[in-house]
């Protein structure tokens, strides 16, 4: 452009704004998205690193038993919660692939936990868990359990309650994903297996599972990343009780930032999860590359 002869310029020596902004250029169409991403994603991410820059905050966290409890609980959610959900979803996707009218009729009912807003559902579960008058202990006493657990008063039961609630909410979504992947397996693959005499368990182990493997692993990684940022489950089911033992990093960060009012410390809680996030992202990118681009 610099070498362009002057007489080619549209308005003499001075270039007008119009010659820079061509209204039909592709980048004009993505400008609104880019502006939003710059102001509400890129800037806050950078700002977060800046807010969490003080090493003293990390020293404080690492000497804080509540922080370690939250870190362990987060790993419990990732290790137990995510894997239990995905395994159950894998089994249930087989159940819902059955060609029976009543199984098909059950599917829309089963999806309900995904359709109901999470705040409504978790508040309901929270009240069900009330040890005196909640529905669960009423049922337990009804079937002869004389002293049912005080669900939210012991660490063990409270974290189990949070994990089970998490599974309740997420199971339909991942079952649908795996069901779709199962349905996408072409029928002639099964027919060929039939000819070779592979049926029942052998068909499952040698054909269905290997073909679902990609979707299953990608789903597990995505679920892990999303679970890391799950605030609602612990906030509404246990609220961190008893005695701040059941927090996860997501709830502890918000708690420190807004309940205690120490924003820097809250941001630091999130940033300590960075190594884990990076590992998950690297694994996910590898998986997506192995699958040649698609999100499966």
């Amino acid at each position: 452009m610099l070498l362009a002869p002057p007489h080619k310029r549209p308005t003499g020596a001075r270039r007008t704004l119009r010659s820079y902004i061509r209204i039909n250029d592709p980048w004009v169409f993505v400008l609104p998205y880019l502006a939003g991403a710059a102001f509400l994603i890129v800037y806050p991410v950078g700002y977060g690193f800046w807010i969490g820059r003080d090493p003293l905050n990390y020293l404080q966290l690492f000497g804080d038993p509540t922080y370690w409890a939250a870190a362990v609980n987060t790993l419990l959610f990732l290790g137990v919660g995510v894997n239990a959900t995905l395994l159950l979803a894998l089994v249930l996707s087989g159940f819902f692939a059955l060609r029976r009218w009543w199984v098909k009729a059950l599917l829309p009912v089963f999806i309900l936990p995904w359709a109901v807003p999470v705040v409504s559902a978790y508040l309901s579960i929270h009240w069900m868990l009330n040890s005196e008058i909640g529905m669960i202990n009423t049922i337990l006493r009804g079937i002869g359990v004389s002293s049912p657990p005080e669900w939210l008063n012991s660490y063990g039961w409270a974290i189990v309650a949070a994990l089970v609630s998490y599974i309740w909410h997420w199971l339909p979504f991942w079952t649908l994903i795996l069901l779709a992947a199962r349905m996408a397996i072409p029928n002639d693959v099964y027919e060929a297996a039939d000819v070779d005499g592979a049926t029942g368990i052998r068909r499952l182990v040698h054909i269905t599972f290997p073909l679902l493997r990609g979707t299953y692993l990608t789903s597990t990684l995505l679920a892990a990343i999303w679970t890391l940022s799950d605030y609602n489950t612990v906030h509404f089911i246990t609220g961190g009780a008893p005695g701040d033992t059941t927090h996860v990093l997501a709830t502890l960060g918000v708690d420190y930032a807004f309940d205690i009012g120490f924003i820097e410390l809250g941001v630091s809680v999130g940033l300590t999860a960075l190594p884990l996030i990076i590992i998950l992202i690297v694994l996910l990118v590898r998986r997506l590359k192995a699958d040649d681009g698609g999100l499966a």
Binding site: I23, F95, L123
Partner: protein
Amino acid sequence: MKTRRSALSTTALVAVGVLLAVWTLLPVYHMLVVSLSPSDELFAGRLWPEDPTLTAFSTVLTEGDFTVERFWLQLWNSLFVAVVSAVGVLAIATLAAFAVARLRPRWAGLLTTSALATYVIPLSFLAIPLYKAMANYNLLGSQWALILATITFGSPYALWVLSQYARASIPSELDEAATIDGAGAWRIYFQIFLPLMRPPMVVVGIYAFLLAWNEYLMAFLFLSEEDSMTLPVTLGNFLNSDQIQWNVMMATALFYALPPVLIYYAFQRNVSSGSTAGGVKN
């Protein structure tokens, strides 16, 4: 032998089905039971209230308790935020999808990938600096903070679904013919692209509506005034009040759950194909 085995497996399957139905419905059933219970019967923990009553529902609808004294306004707030967010996501994502899928610049793949990378950022961690950023933009307390955040976080998925559809289902000859007739990109966008994109736009619109309707954490952080709050914030605040009227709370929770459940079942085919498109190669 064979029939006995299949009868046995049918029994096992039915047992699984019954178990699944109970597991799925219990918390929802519980919401209904509590909301139908009179206040003095709340502490009985019955499986079905002795004198079921609609009092809790009428309390909510007439704003007859201090916890729900802005119910109608907050219902409107939820609706407003969700509808404006859906429109915003549709506007921004159709524009970007048009560029990516129809104008096909060199950086199309890069843009889609980096947009989708948004979803590996843990939102509840980002929420804290985002809160500070909103304070810097002078948007705290405004519903626009929630709307703009929802639009930004909803757009990447929308862009992906829309551009996949645009690539696969709209023949490029249409654009070429229009270009020969002298139509610019904007005219092609409005007169050819948008009308043909209706089916995926329904899916994306519903997705964005539900995203905004269901959002709790950001709504709680950005909106602190009772008059600007959305319903989930009010529901969350029930837990902080000294005397919780659980039947009123569950009635509110049911009203709040109704629109997404109705939408979900009305558009089940579209939405589930849309949500599976989010996870599975198509």
